[in-house]
């Protein structure tokens, strides 16, 4: 009764979500972005403009590089316009930038979840000095001014392998928040009767962990993870905005926003487009995460 995971809860949540307008819209937008990211090379092949192809014909060099035409150079040729000065196709750069954002956010999520779950469960399960050590490490990492440190590390390190470094750095500072929740839940679960009952039946530690504890963590895990993803997207964009993210010429939405600062008086679209994409992506992730959480909460109450 109390032990195993409610097998239908995932399906129930999905049904609730499909009926929720906000969740559906967010999901649709995210699917679009994912599609755009996956098909980035295809898009480039169709338009004929790569993310790093200069197109000086599209910008007015006499005026310092302002794109021709209104709205930052939007045309049939360049559906989202061009960058000032170098004329790079913004659509291509947005598509490839989406790849960067999504891959880094997904990887950071995976790594954070792995670290958070493993360490949180170790602390909650074994308690004693293992718990003490892990808790101290968590306190230490959470006290760290993460942003300052991330910038400092990233600017001190050599330029290669940026995405990997970003993922590692974000995850190192991100896992304690998940681990804290996992540890708390593991502690309460470990003391519950069904665990004692399982032990009394001679269940091994492994079976205990995978069959009794993990399934009960599932809903909190899903909720916490989906709530953290927009943060990772925002952090990567922020770091790129400050110049310590992915190295140019690899496109990143944050870096595009940073470059747009000097131009927004004459070419506001160069700011609006990446800014808009970033905002909508984070918003969709946030709304979806919020709806998922609400769906799980409603399930608990029922």
């Amino acid at each position: 009764m109390a032990g195993g995971a409610p097998a239908t809860s995932g399906r129930r949540v999905l049904r609730v979500l499909l009926r929720d307008r906000g969740a559906v819209l967010s999901g649709a937008y995210l699917a679009l972005i994912v599609l755009m990211a996956i098909c980035a090379p295809l898009i480039t092949a169709i338009t004929g403009h790569g993310p790093n192809d200069f197109d000086t014909a599209a910008v007015d060099t006499d005026l310092g590089g302002v794109p021709y035409g209104t709205l930052g150079g939007i045309s049939a040729e360049h559906p989202l316009g061009v960058e000032p000065q170098n004329g790079r196709d913004i659509l291509a750069r947005i598509a490839y930038g989406a790849r960067v954002s999504l891959i880094i956010a997904a990887s950071a999520t995976a790594l954070t979840t792995l670290l958070g779950v493993v360490l949180g469960m170790l602390a909650g399960f074994y308690q004693g000095w293992v718990d003490q050590v892990i808790c101290r490490v968590m306190d230490f990492l959470m006290a760290f001014p993460a942003l300052i440190f991330m910038i400092a590390i990233l600017s001190a390190l050599p330029q290669g392998n940026r995405p990997v470094l970003l993922v590692v750095v974000i995850s190192v500072f991100g896992w304690p928040y998940l681990a804290r929740v996992v540890r708390g839940q593991t502690l309460t679960l470990v003391n519950r009767e069904f665990v004692e009952a399982a032990r009394a039946c001679g269940a091994s530690t492994g079976a205990l962990v995978f069959k009794e504890i993990l399934p009960n963590l599932r809903s909190s895990l899903i909720v916490m993870t989906t709530l953290a993803v927009p943060g990772y997207v925002g952090t990567e964009a922020g770091l790129s905005f400050l110049g310590v993210g992915v190295t140019p010429p690899t496109p990143s939405w944050g870096q595009m926003i940073s470059s747009s600062v000097g131009w927004y008086a004459v070419d506001p679209m160069y700011f609006v487009i990446p800014g808009g994409f970033l905002f909508l992506t984070v918003l969709s992730l946030t709304v979806l995460g919020d709806r998922i959480r609400a769906a799980y909460d409603a399930g608990e109450a029922a």
Binding site: M142, P145, I148, A152, V261, Y264, L283
Partner: protein, 332 residues
């Protein structure tokens, strides 16, 4: 036993700060491009680099450097010798040869700006966030609630640099309602001072206000469903008193602790906001020093920010024992 508890917590603070120090030192020791090269500049010779390294003490082994730094915090420190002697009074968090100031001096100069940004934003986000959350909770399910929460979700999704740039564009460039932020003291020109801080306050407050609105709403809704609210109603108390006394305190107390932590974090400097608006605070100092590779400053800023967070944690826990009667510190 209260004293014992506080002593224990402070000991923990010292340990964590020591570890932060060590960790940062190790990282910079192993990774950093040679700061001497950075300081040396364009007309550099190997002898000059060695000289600078000698002055900075960079030629000494790791632990000597580290403990020299720690000792400097308590007793002050001297760099170089003879005519080039530079004395850095206690607490010496380092000396920046790029700006020729002790880091402590630099921090003291810039802390007021960061504090102004933090306090102004805090007042704004507390007022707006909590009021919005309360209203939403009381009007749960109505269009007011849905609109407010929709705005809260939206507001929390805008990265603050995007909001900063968007606000600047709309208010300064297009509508020309505000000037670009300038560095003026309050006593010199209150109006410009206010106008300069207004956008940073709004930008910084937005994210937090949205979060606090959602938190307050959830807490108030939960509190209103509690059994003691039913008791209060059954006593026939006036409704305003019931809300004010029985609902607000349980609902807002957890938020007070979260606020303490958030505010402590901001005292270390709001890096992105200050950078985008060009405000000369501790956050901007951090960003600049990273760009220029001014190691002592980076070191100190990291330590300072961690200090505020860790001490803030202890303060918050202590304040919480005053606020929640169930969590009083009693003898074991």
């Amino acid at each position: 036993m209260m004293a014992r508890y506080v002593a224990g917590r402070l000991a923990g603070v010292v340990v964590i700060l020591f570890l932060v120090c060590l960790f940062t030192f190790v990282l910079f020791f192993t990774l950093q491009p040679d700061p001497a090269v950075m300081i040396c500049g364009k007309t550099c010779t190997p002898e000059r680099i060695d000289q600078i390294r000698g002055v900075l003490g960079l030629d000494r082994p790791f632990f000597t450097q580290f403990f020299g730094f720690l000792a400097g915090i308590f007793a002050g420190r001297d760099y170089g010798e003879g005519a080039n002697l530079v004395h850095c009074p206690a607490p010496c968090l380092g000396y920046s040869f790029q700006t020729n100031q002790s880091v402590m001096e630099m921090v003291v100069e810039r802390l007021p700006v960061s504090a102004t940004v933090a306090i102004g934003a805090a007042v704004l986000w507390l007022l707006v966030g909590i009021a919005a959350g309360l209203l939403s909770a009381v009007k749960e399910g109505t269009w007011i609630d849905r609109t407010a929460m929709g705005l809260a979700l939206g507001g929390s999704s805008i990265p603050n640099y995007v909001l900063a740039l968007a606000l600047q564009y709309v208010l300064v460039v297009q509508l020309q309602v505000l000037p670009f932020p300038q560095a003026v003291a309050f006593s010199d020109d209150p109006l410009t001072w206010f106008q300069s801080y207004l956008m940073p306050w709004i930008v910084l407050a937005t994210g937090y206000a949205c979060l606090y609105a959602r938190l307050t709403r959830a807490n108030v809704i939960d509190t209103l469903a509690e059994n003691f609210m039913r008791t209060a109603r059954s006593k026939g108390l006036p409704p305003l008193l019931t809300m004010r006394r029985h609902a607000l305190r349980p609902a807002l107390t957890p938020i007070a602790t979260i606020f303490g932590m958030d505010f402590a974090g901001l005292l270390g400097g709001a890096l992105i906001t200050e950078t985008v608006f060009g405000l000369n605070g501790v956050g901007k100092m951090a960003a600049d020093s990273i760009a220029k590779n001014d190691q002592p400053v980076i070191m100190a800023v990291t330590l300072l920010a961690a200090f505020f967070v860790v001490v803030g944690n202890v303060v918050v826990d202590l304040v919480y024992t005053r606020l929640d009667p169930r969590v009083r510190i009693t003898s074991p």
